[in-house]
């Protein structure tokens, strides 16, 4: 999986979960940059990502990830 592919699928997940087709994610995107990305949606997004990519993200990573870049790194790491 390349980084571009991950971003493409990740954008879809975010748009679907948050009902917002204008979402365009970058490495530095943080929760504050995206409308509606609060604590509750954070978990919905994580579950969405897990279903899209087919693996579980450990809880320890869920609480520590700081931005989308870290999320992508985790996905690349887990998808190996």
């Amino acid at each position: 999986m390349t980084k571009e592919e991950v971003y493409k699928r990740l954008n879809e997940v975010f748009r679907e979960v948050l009902d917002d087709d204008s979402i365009e994610l970058h490495d530095e995107t943080v929760a504050d940059d995206v409308d509606g990305w609060d604590s509750f949606e954070h978990i919905n997004l994580i579950v969405g990502v897990e279903e899209e990519f087919g693996f579980k993200i450990p809880m320890g990573k869920v609480v520590t990830m700081k931005n989308v870049g870290e999320m992508v790194d985790i996905i690349l790491e887990m998808g190996k």
Partner: protein, 518 residues
């Protein structure tokens, strides 16, 4: 020894001297010894056994986890041991500190005995340790971090004991994370900036606590002591002043705590970030008692929401009621549990009602009506980024907090009485008593005009500092950039204010912080 006492200042001065003079290798040992000395003088000494017990439970359970993972693999089953370690910690806290939660029920079973006598006996025998509510959450966080592999288990039990008993945070927190506090074990060079910033912050904390909070406290307790006499606008004064007292008290204490820790070169987490500037109640809680909120989010809310049951529940509700309503129901359930945990942590019905239920209802209503509010503001073409709008929103948020704080302050029954009384001013004819602001009635509350002027004066400084903080990160960074004379004028004036108008000395007990009991 309270952290606002003269002896405490002497104690930290000597402590800081030892800390920087002795070899850097043993700095953490100095901190541990200082913590033990502080505990000996500030609490009932033998209750340190509770801290030791919590430390040992965490120490053995996390090391066991680590060994098992090394022997087998990363997926080794360590959850049962983690759960047991967490439950023992909760149990100790619940029995000792959560007494108000279980005693009313237990006394029902003991009806045949003299309940009051049993109550007194329990009171006598089960003295809680200092800071139990704070360090219990801290050590539980550590155990969970090790379980999640976000922290490497500490091999030295004494070092772990320091993490639990580090003395600045025993009074009212903050609830630190292990990863942040690993600096406790590092070597710290003497730096002038740490000493000056630390001392400045302590001074500022003293101003808030013993000049402002104690003065407002006199008015609020006078009003609370006789609610049937102090009605009408008095109720409004009590309701609106208490949040300010609480803020000056709690955040003043945090300033002292963080300042003391800074003297040792150790940065603790911030617990406040200008809460009264918050536009919504949700934002308010991200700025008030921050370390409790983030603790509950990371260790309670996220694991709960990510549990299989909750995910299944979410899918079910979305299917049944549609995406929006489904999400709202999950929100409601999650928030309810989160706020209950916060209420229970405060340890009594008044907190569960005042903190938890009230806020749960408000946040849920806010969530529910957010789209309607948005439509209204759009239709009226409100300038939502204007100062006036921000002012209105912050005022509303303050009022919402003040209602919850009323329960927190006087309990549920009296709280309802007081809130009803305040409403009567608006609804019942001739009930308002505005003359109390102009005749000498207010002076019956135990304060002089001088005190009231001082409250206003210091509150204005608090507001200025808050504005500076919003713009410069910290007000003292702004002060640091000013010229020498102006800088020293500020600090010397503050010092004189504290010295002259601070409520301290023999016969005056400023030692109790509102948040010390948790």
């Amino acid at each position: 020894m309270s952290i606002t006492s003269f002896y405490f200042l002497v104690f930290i001065t000597i402590g800081v001297a030892f800390y920087y003079v002795l070899p850097k290798k043993i700095q953490w040992v100095v901190l541990l010894l200082l913590s033990l000395v502080f505990y000996y003088f500030a609490a009932v000494p033998y209750t340190i056994g509770y801290l030791a017990a919590s430390t040992l439970i965490a120490y053995f359970s996390t090391l066991w986890m680590k060994r098992k993972r090394e022997k087998q693999n990363q997926d080794a089953k360590v959850l049962p041991v983690t759960m047991i370690a967490l439950l023992i910690n909760i149990a100790i806290w619940f029995v000792v500190k959560g007494r108000d939660l279980w005693f009313p029920f237990a006394s029902g079973f003991m009806a045949r005995h003299d309940v009051l006598q049993i109550d007194a006996e329990i009171n006598l025998r089960m003295i809680a340790s200092l800071g139990m509510g704070y360090y219990t959450l801290q050590i539980m966080g550590y155990i969970i971090d090790c379980y999640w592999q976000n922290a490497v288990p500490q091999k030295n039990p004494l070092k772990l004991f320091l993490f639990v008993s580090y003395f600045p945070q025993l009074t009212t927190g903050p609830i630190s994370r292990y990863a942040q506090l690993e600096t406790l074990y590092e070597r710290h060079k003497f730096e002038y900036q740490n000493i000056s910033f630390g001392a400045q912050r302590i001074l500022w904390g003293f101003t808030k606590k013993i000049v402002l909070a104690e003065r407002i406290g006199i008015i609020v307790s006078a009003l609370n002591s006789d609610m049937s006499t102090y009605t009408g606008f008095y109720s409004w004064i009590a309701i609106l002043l208490y949040p300010l007292q609480m803020y000056a008290d709690f955040s003043g204490c945090m300033d002292i705590v963080l300042g003391v820790s800074e003297l040792f070169g150790i940065r603790l987490a911030e617990n406040f970030h200008n809460p009264f500037f918050a536009r919504t109640s949700q934002e308010f809680w991200q700025r008030w008692h921050i370390t409790l909120g983030t603790w509950a989010k990371d260790y309670v809310l996220y694991p709960l929401l990510k549990s299989k049951r909750m995910i299944r529940f979410g899918k079910f509700t979305r299917k049944k009621f549609g995406k929006k309503a489904g999400k709202f129901l999950v929100n409601m359930a999650g928030m309810f549990i989160l706020w209950m945990v916060m209420g229970i942590w405060h340890g009594g019905l008044r907190y569960i009602a005042g903190v938890s239920l009230w806020y749960w209802v408000i946040l849920m209503l806010g969530d529910l009506f957010a789209p309607v509010f948005l439509k209204i503001t759009n239709k009226l073409e409100m300038k939502t980024d204007s100062f006036a709008w921000h002012f209105f929103q912050s005022g509303r948020t303050y009022l919402i907090y003040a209602v919850g704080a009323t329960f927190f302050s006087v309990g549920v029954t009296d709280g309802i009485y007081r809130l009803k009384d305040a409403l009567k001013v608006l609804c019942v004819k001739n009930y308002a008593n505005p003359w109390i602001f102009f005749d000498q009635s207010i002076l019956n509350l135990g304060v002089t005009w001088g005190d009231i002027n001082l409250i206003i004066f210091v509150s204005v400084i608090v507001l200025l500092v808050a504005i500076l903080r919003e713009k410069h990160g910290y007000a003292r960074i702004w002060v640091q950039q000013q010229c020498f004379i102006f800088r020293w004028m500020i600090w010397i004036s503050l010092f004189i204010i504290v010295l002259i108008w601070g409520k301290y000395g023999p016969g005056y007990d400023a030692s109790i912080f509102i948040y010390e009991g948790f």
